[in-house]
Symmetry: C2
Subunit: 361 residues, 2 copies
């Protein structure tokens, strides 16, 4: 991975250098990133850019941004070559030593970083730029193969051996490898539910890997699930609250990505993820306590039906969302506790997973 990015950076930099030597105006070409500029097809599986590009030419007006873009590329090259990393915030501070090319505010450096990311059609983790927020927690039938940065020595992390604790996914997962005999990955919304399933060694009974997303999954968490599931050909089942947020934000973002980050969805989505529950139908089938939909829930659900290319693609989802709106209620994964704290382990999950072909798409 690393050398490929370095090669790309060098080649672009050489292009700029050559043009300057020829006394021509150097240019860099960057895809336009825009909310309305995405398409969804189940074949691709993620929100994709429609394709237009903007060209940044070196002129009197663009000289600062142009210089900053080159500086950013140079920083990335040096980070990747030394197997180091930098957060967005650190990059902003590093620029304080770039004299006239320094950034005054972090949003400026973030924008240039996004440009570089889009220009090389990689995710910024591949450039050595890592998020400040960590990935999810993991427990179960999985060995993660990592390496020591200082010595390069291989490290095997056995995720069955953490007791009530868990493996905390690092901010960058690009170089991790995996060994597993698990049957599926269970991605869970809340830390509390993850802890319950982990404490009771559910992963052992079901032969699976548990991942705690703690709300809308971070980039690292989504990338971890994507890489693991793809490399090991594992189905991904998503277990979240049965409300517009759990379905429309958490699940949708994990599966196909989000609108405002279209140029990276390709790396961060999990196209083969399937929705285990909690579904509106589960409320009836499992006699679950509910809460009335709030105004914001109704608005979100209606938005999903009206504007979201993903839900518009699937009749089954439209039916489920309409059922939720008609019932006027939402349900949480903890609601299963009404039937005993471990009903989720003894009854709900086994019954659902036995019929995984019926999961919502």
């Amino acid at each position: 991975m690393a050398p490929k990015v370095v090669t790309k950076i060098k080649s672009t930099a050489r292009g700029v250098h050559d043009k300057i030597l020829k006394r021509q105006k150097p240019t860099m070409s960057i895809p336009v990133r825009n909310l309305s500029n995405v398409t969804y097809s189940p074949r691709k599986g993620y929100f994709d850019l429609k394709g237009s590009k903007k060209t940044r030419t070196l002129t009197y007006n663009t000289v600062k941004t142009f210089a900053q873009t080159l500086r950013m590329m140079a920083l990335s090259k040096s980070i990747v070559e030394t197997d180091d990393m930098a957060t967005k915030r650190e990059v902003y501070y590093v620029s304080k030593n770039w004299d006239e090319a320094r950034f005054d505010e972090q949003p400026e450096s973030d924008t240039v970083m996004d440009d570089v990311e889009a220009m090389f059609e990689v995710n910024r983790e591949q450039l050595g730029f890592v998020p400040d927020e960590k990935g999810g927690d993991v427990a179960g039938a999985l060995k993660v193969i990592d390496h020591e940065r200082t010595t390069g020595k291989e490290i095997v992390v056995d995720c069955t051996r953490f007791g009530s604790g868990a493996y905390s996914v690092p901010v960058s997962v690009e170089e991790l490898d995996f060994e597993t005999s698990a049957r599926f990955i269970l991605a869970i919304e809340t830390g509390g539910m993850f802890q319950r399933l982990n404490n009771h060694n559910y992963w052992q009974k079901a032969n699976c890997i548990l991942v705690s997303m703690a709300g809308v999954p971070t980039r690292s968490c989504r990338r971890f699930i994507r890489r693991l599931s793809e490399k090991k050909d594992l189905p991904v089942y998503v277990f979240v609250d049965g409300d517009p947020y759990g379905i429309g934000n958490i699940y949708r973002t994990l599966k196909v990505g989000s609108g405002n980050a279209a140029h990276i969805n390709e790396y961060f989505c999990v196209p083969h993820a399937r929705f285990l529950g909690v579904t509106p139908q589960d409320i009836i089938d499992y006699d679950l306590p509910t809460h009335p939909l709030k105004k914001v829930d109704i608005k979100r659900a209606e938005d999903m039906l009206r504007n979201d290319p993903f839900f518009q693609h699937y009749k089954q989802w439209q039916k489920a969302i309409q059922q939720m709106l008609k019932m006027g209620v939402r349900v949480e994964q903890q609601a299963l506790a009404k039937h005993g704290l471990n009903c989720v382990i003894d009854k709900y999950l086994p019954e659902k997973i036995a019929n995984s072909d019926k999961f919502l798409p």
Copy 2:
């Protein structure tokens, strides 16, 4: 631990039962929890209750709350006896099967849980009630001794063996034990800084344990640091942003607790924690880039000087906060990146730790 709580629950329940058999009105006595009702003394090291109690007598008006309190105690007893756990949200849902004693909204069940916690003078984790939010991330010279809930078998988690990942602290840490030869614990504000120190095996060079707090530390994270540092007699150095939030919220909460949870500060504070940095003086000593204090920063700093018993106790802190207000700027831990991404490892931390006696209290 567990049997002690069960004994307390049984004894209180028996008191209620006996009174009823004698046809007297049963009572339960609960400490008053109140913001203005705390004191600070460095000897105790945490915000402490001044001591008044309220008595809940079974009457026509209190019958529902009284019944709910007893139900909550019974649930706790059964959870502790089966080595299980329940989140606050799950407890609320379990109550849906308590007929007339069920809770309509979670704030009601949370209040009764707080009452039970205060009544037995334990933290709710000891009652088997766990937070939904996880603790911090840990890496370094530490072995955590846990046990499998299903078999009771001991599990040893080696925190040197996570590569770029980390050990994710479970929601309840009451039963963990520790082995370590580390010299200190370094508690870090941001996930990004933690990742840098972890990737570069800083814990090996400095022989320490790294803990990522990710902002104001959760209960689990504070309790983990407290138990580990106390059991192994380790100093705790806190490395956060040099701003009123880092000092007044993150550090202060970790060290002495918070005002609105006075009955549990005893368990969740880390009285011997010391402030490594970033200090206002570091801005000068290390030539760090800063940001102007915002209105909210100034207000918070002035509040700290005027109303916070902790900062009022320490002249050194008053001086440092006044210096910050006078300079009119705040500084982030990432600002050290101006002098190179690893300046923090090669220069800042070693220099500071060599003079740990000069840390702010």
